[in-house]
Amino acid sequence: MGLEALKEEITKALSTIVVEPVWAEAAGDLALHVLPGSLKAVAAALKGVGFRLLLAVAVVDEGETFRVVYPLCSLERRLRLILMTSVPRQAPDIDSLVDVWPAANWHEREQAELFGVTFVGHPDPRHLLLPDDWEGYPLRKDYKEPEVYRGISTERPYWEDEGCSRSN
């Protein structure tokens, strides 16, 4: 199925919920950008088109906004699509898609703790990877590491002292 035909079909599916799709391209894949308010309705409509497999949830820190990315796949029809939405950094609230794709459960938990975004309506908003007493959101661009964690020094002894940090 060509990208144009897929575009047309999705536009048709979304017309019932009055959403005007904004199209983009991500290195050859079709990307659909929607407003956060209509995210859940669009997700349900896309599932109806055949996108039953949610592959990941990725948040991208873009300064003033957080972009949330949902790569999707349809096994029966062999289609790929990337669903995206953007939320402001000051109020990073996104509708949880656990009801639509159960796979979103863990992915959203992970992204929420790493970026400090909130997935509204998530059934189990606990930490997943980081310890419960972790402070800060490490994958944000402005994250600063603490000097001590639970009495253990987080200092790097080798690289930065000698001015040969590998990170620049």
């Binding site: 490490p138 253990i152 200092e155 002894p157 690289w159 590998r166 990170s167």
Partner: protein, 162 residues
């Protein structure tokens, strides 16, 4: 145990040969804990496997820290894991030894750029032998075990301090 024994004995007694026997027993049956945190665990597995065959040196794996003499910290240790490793170490019965296997547990290794990785297991528990490599080859780990055995051979438990 040896302090109390030493205090009860006359000051002229010598125990060096008993030391040697004890050390020989300890170094020839270093049972290690079946525990790997990351990549090095696979090489640890291969070392215990048919080709490198760590059994030759009396080292076999045990699944419980209570039955183990040796903790091989095989792989990256994160802050979340550090307290658990400390607890595992505390659960082991004396005498106990630690081999730090691989760059990550030696000093953080590749992952010292990260925010969640402990920069060296020696910040949490004492280490006897450091084995470099990312990951160390089975030969290197075997060498590490032999070095530890040499270290144990020179230990003095009962001999009088000068």
């Amino acid at each position: 145990m040896h302090y109390t024994l030493r205090n009860k004995l006359p000051s002229t007694a010598l125990f060096t040969t008993v030391d040697a026997v004890l050390n020989w027993g300890r170094l020839s049956s270093l049972w290690y804990l079946l525990f790997g945190t990351a990549c090095c665990a696979i090489e640890l597995m291969q070392t215990g496997g048919p080709r490198a065959d760590l059994d030759r040196f009396g080292a076999v794996f045990r699944s419980s820290p209570r039955q183990s003499d040796l903790l091989i910290v095989a792989g990256t240790v994160t802050y979340k894991m550090a307290s658990r490793i400390k607890r595992l170490y505390e659960q082991m019965a004396d005498p106990k030894y630690v081999i730090s296997m691989g760059s990550c547990s030696n000093c953080g290794g590749l992952f010292d750029l990260g925010y969640s990785v402990l920069r060296g297991i020696d910040k949490v528990i004492p280490v006897d032998v450091y084995v470099p490599g990312c990951p160390p080859r089975p030969e290197a780990l075997t060498q590490g075990l032999l070095v530890l055995q040499e270290k144990i051979r020179k230990q003095r438990y009962l001999a009088r301090e000068a």
